[in-house]
Amino acid sequence: MRIGVPKEVAANERRVALTPEVVGRLKKGGFEIVVERGAGSAAFFPDSAYTAAGATLVDRAVALGDVDVTLQVQAPAAADVARYREGGAVVAAFQPASDAALVRQLAQRKLTTFSLVLLPRITRAQGMDVLSSQATVAGYKAVLIAASATGRLLPMLVTAAGTLPAARVLVLGAGVAGLQAIATARRLGAIVSAFDVRPAVKEQVQSLGAVFLEMAIEEHAETAGGYAKELSADTHQKELAFLAKSVKDADIVITTAAIPGKKAPILITAAAVDGMKPGAVIVDLAAETGGNCELTQAGVEIVRHGVSILGPLNLPSTLPFDASQMYARNVAAFLGHIVKDGQLRMDFTDQIINDTCVTHAGEVRKS
């Protein structure tokens, strides 16, 4: 079976779908792999490494058009759709909901497209879970960004020039990204506290040595699947009030609150920001989905009297080497799941295949 890996064309996307190491593994698995020239260079994987691993370097046209399955990170570019082989397959990580038109195009082209962001978070699928792997990177990077943006050092230092107290970091939403942020901030010596609506999270936060902020939430904010539900209006009000107090003495706030498929919940109102210390920093990981802070503007830094609010986009791409490593392994695992002796097995009774398949045989399955 022939696999194609194109160069990512989306703006500031530096990741690549397969790394040389994974290429090598797939080769052993009997796959034939073609890689577009320069596909990995932005992630520090030179073409030479790919050829060394057994891949053939090709033009974009080949990587898209002359293969059975194309592996990529971002959704196919509208301009590219026509270049994919009709009836071919594409694996990427994108929100179909966010671009219905594109999805229709893909269907028309009879492409079988899978989106890894739709993976069910079940144990079996953990090896393919790009959301987790990439959120891990994001959570880590978020702390670095915050640490650079703030005027302070994170750790406590007792020096001849006086004592610098440790910075206070508040993490809102302790999912994959949130937990990783907590761990990283703790590593740097900050005093970390965190908040989340799911009761299960409390123990997890403490398991990282951080403090969990208690807020009495009447309703049950967790779905059967272990995800967060949207909160009722008044509970949400309570939360806002509670957080407005909590952010006051924070030097850094990292927000990662998300509800799958929904717009990110607002956790920090403009008023709350006014209550914060000058020099404080908010890093809003939910920027892509609207942001957890009222003032967040995706991709730009805005400063509101002394408090800077960052809404960075696509953080994983800013650590392309490791992010790609993980993405590649995820994709490879997924490939191993959907390919059976050289053929795609379109068995929709399989939860993973069923949930991730966006378009197949000309029809749109998810939108």
Binding site: T123, R124, T136, V176, L179, Q180, A183, S207, G209
Partner: protein, 471 residues
């Protein structure tokens, strides 16, 4: 002569005590053995050279025979050591019993001829005690040895029947009663017969005592029999009015007793239960031998296992994180490596609740990266691993993932903790982990639980290495 024996007795006693003291510490233990041997030799020689001893040939012969049988007995494979010990208890008991009998008949014989050593009640009592203890130890130990050796015509599994207690106690009571009678009328015409009856009952009781005891309890029982042997020696001492016998016997008796108690605690069994065999209700630990149940290990036991191991693999999970036990784990790692044990950490890809959860904590505790091994690398090594220490991990070591299609974790690669020679698992309860499914690992034959908060359990464990207890 008298003085010589007095002094030699004191000397021997002192040596025995030193022997036991030195046994406290592996470093001096072997010196202890030497002391014991010397003490014993002194005792033997001192007795031998007494004027009234004349039949040297006999003695030589018996001693020679002792060596002939004893040496091979000491070369049994280590697996057979328990049997060996039981067997020698049997010998001990036999000796005591016989000497007792001999004493009695001597007295009877000389009784007419007034040449007899006067037989006080106290003395007669001691004599009976000696005989009873001696003989019951004899048969009891034989049975135990048999069971352990799995001799065919001895039932391995505990044999219990209604009213067992009544019978056993009955037998013992009768023997005791008769003994009392003899003490009161040592020279009654019926005394001779009664004496035999007593001996017989003792022998019988020994058997009855062991029948209801299961393999799991054998070690304890053996050490109790050891104590009995000691007590019979004491009794003999009273009869022969020999302080040496009394001391040595007492040392053996008391230490044997404590030892059994400690053992019972270690296997959390009721001491009295073991002491009187299967008396009272059914016995958990015995059952443990047969069907699958949660077996518990004490920290002492665990420490022992760990420090005698050549290779230990620590498998941390979410529980270590929840307990924030990483620093205690690190202490354990230090303690073990310092003792030359090879310790590795097996990190499962999804151990904990976030990617790299274990890494964060272990790095904080300064565990060198080189000690962290990935699942794929460690699994091939597991079968050669002496001890797998599971610290608050559950799903990631759940064998069900291999075959139980129905379970959510089916298909997830796991760390093959179950393949290790011994598994020690630390968790607070019998609750399942994240995936909410039971874990058969915990009830495998080679698995022992350490229940409790990981931090607490591990610091207790570490203390074991700190304390003088283990060297």
């Amino acid at each position: 002569m008298r003085a010589v024996s007095e002094l030699s007795a004191i000397l021997a006693t002192a040596l025995f005590i030193f022997a036991l003291n030195w046994m406290n510490d592996p470093k001096t233990a072997r010196r202890g053995v030497v002391a014991g041997i010397v003490g014993m030799t002194i005792a033997v020689v001192a007795t031998w050279i007494q004027p009234e001893i004349i039949h040297h040939g006999w003695i030589l012969l018996a001693i020679a025979a002792g060596f002939v049988v004893g040496i091979p007995l000491s070369l049994v494979p280590l697996t057979a050591v328990p049997q060996r010990t039981a067997l020698s208890h049997a010998f001990g008991g036999l000796a005591a019993g016989l000497v007792g009998a001999a004493e009695y008949f001597l007295w009877l014989g000389e009784h007419g001829t007034g040449a007899a050593v006067e037989m006080t009640h106290f003395r007669m009592g001691a004599l009976c005690a000696e005989v009873i203890l001696g003989f019951l130890t004899f048969t009891g130990s034989l049975m135990a040895a048999g069971k352990l050796q799995e001799v065919k015509w001895i039932p391995q599994r505990p044999v219990t029947y209604p009213g067992q207690n009544v019978v056993n106690i009955g037998v013992l009571a009768v023997a005791a009663g008769l003994a009392v009678a003899m003490v009161l009328h040592p020279d009654a015409p019926w005394a001779r017969t009664v004496f035999f009856v007593i001996a017989g009952l003792a022998l019988l009781f020994g058997i009855l005592l062991i029948i209801p005891i299961g393999g799991a309890d054998m070690p304890t029982v053996i050490s109790i029999l050891n104590a009995y042997a000691g007590l019979s020696a004491v009794a003999m001492g009273f009869v022969l009015n020999s302080k040496l016998l009394v001391t040595a016997g007492a040392l053996d008796g008391s230490s044997g007793l404590i030892l059994s108690i400690i053992m019972c605690r270690a296997m959390n069994r009721s001491f009295t239960n073991v002491l009187f065999g299967a008396f009272g209700k059914a016995q958990p630990a015995v059952a443990a031998g047969e069907q699958k149940v949660w077996k518990q290990e004490t920290v002492e036991g665990a420490a022992q296992l760990l420090e005698q191991a050549r290779t230990v693999v620590i498998i941390p999970g979410y529980g270590m994180a929840v307990a924030q036990a990483q620093h205690k784990v690190a202490e354990l790692y230090d303690a073990l490596t310092k003792r030359g044990v090879i310790v590795k950490f097996a990190i499962h890809p999804v151990a904990g609740r976030m990617p790299g959860h274990m890494n964060v904590l272990l790095a904080e505790a300064n565990i060198p990266y080189t000690a962290l091994v990935e699942m794929d690398e460690i699994n091939p090594e597991m079968p050669q691993t002496d001890v797998a220490l599971v610290v608050g991990a559950n799903d990631v070591v759940n064998p069900a993932a291999r075959y139980a299609k129905s379970t959510p974790i089916y298909g997830m690669p796991i760390i093959d903790a179950d393949k290790a020679k011994t598994v020690l698992a630390v968790k607070r309860s019998k609750n399942p982990g994240f995936a909410g499914i039971d874990n058969e690992l915990y009830v495998l034959d080679n698995t022992w639980m350490l229940f409790g908060d990981a931090k607490a359990v591990l610091s207790d464990l570490v203390k074991q290495f700190g304390s003088g207890g283990i060297h």
